[in-house]
Amino acid sequence: MSTHLSLQDVAVRYASKTIVENINVDLAEGEIGCLLGPSGCGKTTLLRTIAGFEKLAAGKIFLRNKEVSNVARAIPPEKRRVGMVFQDYALFPHLTVAQNIAFGLSHLKKTERQDRVDQLLTLTDLSDTKTRYPHQLSGGQQQRIALARALAPKPDILLMDEPFSNLDVELREHLAHDIRQLIKSEKMTAILVTHDQQEAFATADKIALLNAGKLVQWGTANELYHQPNSSFSAEFIGQGVLIQGTIVHQESGRKSIQTEIGTVLLPNNFSATNANLLIRPDQLSIESPEDSATTPNTASVPVTLLHKSFRGGYCLCTLETEDGQRLLAQFPSHFSFDINHSFKVSINLDSTTPVAC
């Protein structure tokens, strides 16, 4: 797969305020990328820069190996062949659904245009709304029209700015899945902006995690979850706690991280000088007498239950160790200890993740 979109050292500034900088991202053809981060991290600005709405302060953007933006020149959005779905859809209120979808198709012949519109209406399951106006439709329908409109001209890349944020939760998950299917079926390369990791996981192949205008981590959902490269990644993605640790050199020449719970070997390529240990809630279990002895490198930690929250399939609990370190744990939902109950948990230290800081 060839590189389809490439951001090289991209920076954007408004006046003297830096919005994003040092962004390097490559997206292969047919992949769905995601710009994930808390609000104000610059992800929307970055998306608009890819679309051509914002100027670059540094760096270059390549789309299909063609330079579309550099500091001096930028191909305007209307000539860039990007499709964009806006947060509030920005449907044209004075045009019908079909006219909205056909808006970017004026280069086609009338019959071709109608065929393409019909095709997209079928694809998005909106055929019966063809002659209606946007304000007559539900939020979910409007969202799909916005998507169909962006896809219609077969853009080189599809950009979606918080496409699900105006929808209710149930609809959101359903649509996220549908839209991924749709984009894949159209063999479209796409970038999605969101602050919601579930959305990112459900839709994207690769995720760029941004914080305060900087790219924190770029990888698959799995990589982000299991190999966070920073405290920010670790804390932003998924749940868990970071336990402070110190790096020690072992006689074997390998380094390990030492924490109050136990010691974990570091991978050979781990170069940071400071590190913490990330413990996900599912890595804790209530200790039973038989497993404590058998599993190697398992820590047995006495804890007190501070808080529990019923989540249906499981129970999310906040625990406190004797040293006052808090831990998050995910226990089966029939878990029945009361608050302030003391008990022991076992933690499989090999499954935990050391995180550089």
């Binding site: 860039r80 499709g83 806006f86 970017g104 304000h135």
Partner: protein
């Protein structure tokens, strides 16, 4: 988080307010309100209906005479005039509105408000000045003849006093209506929607024609219909230029042929024109809606233009100002030199100002009541009532005046009769010949201006906002006071100033309805000008223009305010 979704997951419907009102226990209050609205609109429609009632007089010989001789001229000329003025005002108004709203070019800040100056120029005055300048006997052609030793017929020169000339004159002074409303609409348009069009490959022209223009349509239609209704009502210009239109035809039939019935039938045809215009527009709009759906990021940045484009933009925006204001104003000033102003001049100014101001405030109050009433009670009866009440804008002032004199004098005489019978005391005429009747006439004539502005302001407020305020325990009146009025303040301001300027220029109704010894600047200017004493008319005309400038400048300041912060 979930609450913000509510307005998107259910279709936005203007009837939500109504249906929720119906469910309230105090059902009679809304009925009373509808009754009040209908009464108000009926009173305002009285003059137009009085005129229209003459239609039922049997068609006289005069009518047959008109139909066989001049009627087709009236229809064709009026239509051509309407089409021409529509094209003229749309071209000048929209071009300048688009350029000043979207681009940064040399002199933008000045032309932005100067483009409104022609509003202060009465059409008949500009017609007199241009004729003075460009006529065969005028200085320009005389200079050409003397310079080249030409005689009559040796050369071609555009004839000012022609249909084209009238179209130009009216367009020069009426385009600001389109400019004003279109510009506001362009500025309010969501930046995101334009971005969406760009991402779909739309260049600047397509964005303008396919997105910005259609989305500004309600505003542009409102502005153009004001211009066209003024055109239909214009008498001074077409009469001076010798063009037979409905208006001159009505005068001629009424006063020359002495046939009120046939004149009223002509006036009714004129109203038919207006209704047709309104219906065509309504139909073509059908279900399309123009609420901005997005709240989006509204930061509005003007695109700088290249040097050449900047110069072209400057020229395009300066031309209407030169044509509609600078040239006629310069000529008037030249004429006014050497004219003396007597002491009565001050009272003219005062009369004009106080009348215009009271009328403007009254019109605003009524426009708010009717505009908001329509929003609360969007029933067919209320809507029709409001439309009929605003028809007066398209009817020539003289016709309106007659439509007022007849019913009000009748009422006066009834009251007097009653008082004499009951108390043996004659009340005389209470309304007739009072300033009250004059203010009433202004309302009938210019309510459409104020209402148009208020309505377009209210249109930008989503119905869901009414609903949310009502759900927070606000009464409809409180919603109006706390939500709508503060939000649409610029529109209210525009309404007041437009009516102010219009009343200042108003002539025929003032002429007929004013009390004894009461003159205005427009009356003075017109009496002298129509007596062909242009120089003597110049000081009053200039004062109208200068007085009109004050609100026009205020108006322009108010239109700049919303984006002043973000543009710098």
């Amino acid at each position: 988080m979930a609450s913000s979704n509510s307005d998107l997951t259910q279709p936005l419907s203007p009837t939500t307010t109504l249906s929720s009102a119906r469910l309230r226990p105090r059902i009679t209050r809304s009925h009373l309100f509808v009754l009040f609205l209908l009464t108000t609109t009926s009173i305002l429609a009285l003059p137009v209906l009085t005129i229209a009632s003459f239609i039922f007089e049997p068609a006289s010989d005069v009518w047959h005479h008109l139909a066989s001789t001049v009627l087709s001229d009236y229809v064709i000329n009026s239509l051509l005039l309407l089409i021409g003025v529509a094209v003229g005002t749309l071209t000048m108004g929209i071009t300048s509105a688009w350029l000043t709203a979207m681009y940064q070019f040399p002199g933008r800040r000045i032309v932005e408000w100067a483009l409104l100056l022609p509003l202060a120029m009465p059409a008949y005055i500009i017609a007199y000045t241009y004729t003075g300048l460009l006529d065969f006997a005028g200085p320009l052609q005389t200079a050409l003849r003397e310079g080249f030793n030409w005689q009559y017929g040796d050369y071609w020169f555009p004839e000012v006093r022609s249909l084209i000339g009238a179209i130009c004159m009216l367009s020069f002074v009426l385009y600001p209506y389109v400019y004003l409303l279109a510009r506001a609409s362009f500025l309010e348009q969501s930046v995101v929607t334009m971005d969406a069009a760009r991402s779909l490959g739309a260049g600047p022209w397509k964005r303008f024609f396919r997105v910005a223009l259609p989305m500004a349509r309600p505003a542009i239609v409102a502005g153009t219909s004001l211009a066209l209704m003024e055109t239909l009502a214009d008498y001074g210009t077409v009469q001076y230029f010798g063009i037979s239109t409905f208006t001159t035809g009505i005068f001629r039939t009424w006063f020359g042929l002495g046939d009120q019935g046939a004149a009223a039938q002509l006036a009714a045809m004129l109203l038919g024109f207006v209704l047709l215009l309104i219906l065509v527009e309504r139909y073509s709009r059908r279900q399309a809606q123009y609420h901005q759906q997005s709240t989006g990021d509204s930061s509005h940045q003007r695109q700088p233009l290249s040097k050449l484009s900047g110069v072209i933009a400057s020229i395009l925006c300066t031309t209407p100002i030169i044509l509609g204001f600078l040239i006629p104003f310069g000529l008037l000033t030249q004429w006014a030199m050497g004219e003396t102003m007597d002491a009565s001049f001050f009272s003219l100014v005062w009369n004009s100002l106080s009348l215009a101001f009271s009328a403007a405030l009254l019109a605003l109050t009524l426009a708010i009541i009717l505009g908001y009433g329509q929003r609360l009670m969007p029933t067919r009866a209320v809507k029709t009532g409001v439309r009929v009440a605003t028809l007066g804008y398209a009817v020539p002032g003289t016709v309106i005046a007659v439509g007022i004199v007849i019913p009000l004098a009748w009422i006066d005489n009834r009251i007097d009769q009653w008082a004499t019978d009951m108390f043996d005391h004659s009340t005389g005429l209470i309304f007739s010949g009072s300033l009250f009747i004059l203010l009433f006439a202004y309302l009938v004539r210019f309510l459409a201006v104020a209402l148009g502005s208020v309505e377009s302001g209210l249109q930008t407020i989503k119905p869901s906002m009414d609903d949310s305020a009502r759900s927070l325990g606000f009464s409809p009146f409180q919603v109006l006071r706390k939500i709508h009025l503060p939000i649409i303040r610029p529109s209210l301001f525009t309404a007041v100033l437009l009516v102010f300027v219009d009343v200042l220029k108003e002539l025929p109704a003032t002429l007929i309805l004013r009390p004894f010894n009461f003159n205005t600047l427009a009356v003075r200017a017109y009496e002298l000008a129509s007596d062909e004493q242009l120089a003597s008319a110049a000081p009053a005309a200039i004062t109208i223009v200068l007085t009109g400038l004050i609100p026009v400048i205020l108006l322009s300041r108010s239109i700049n305010r919303p984006n002043a912060g973000s543009s710098s």
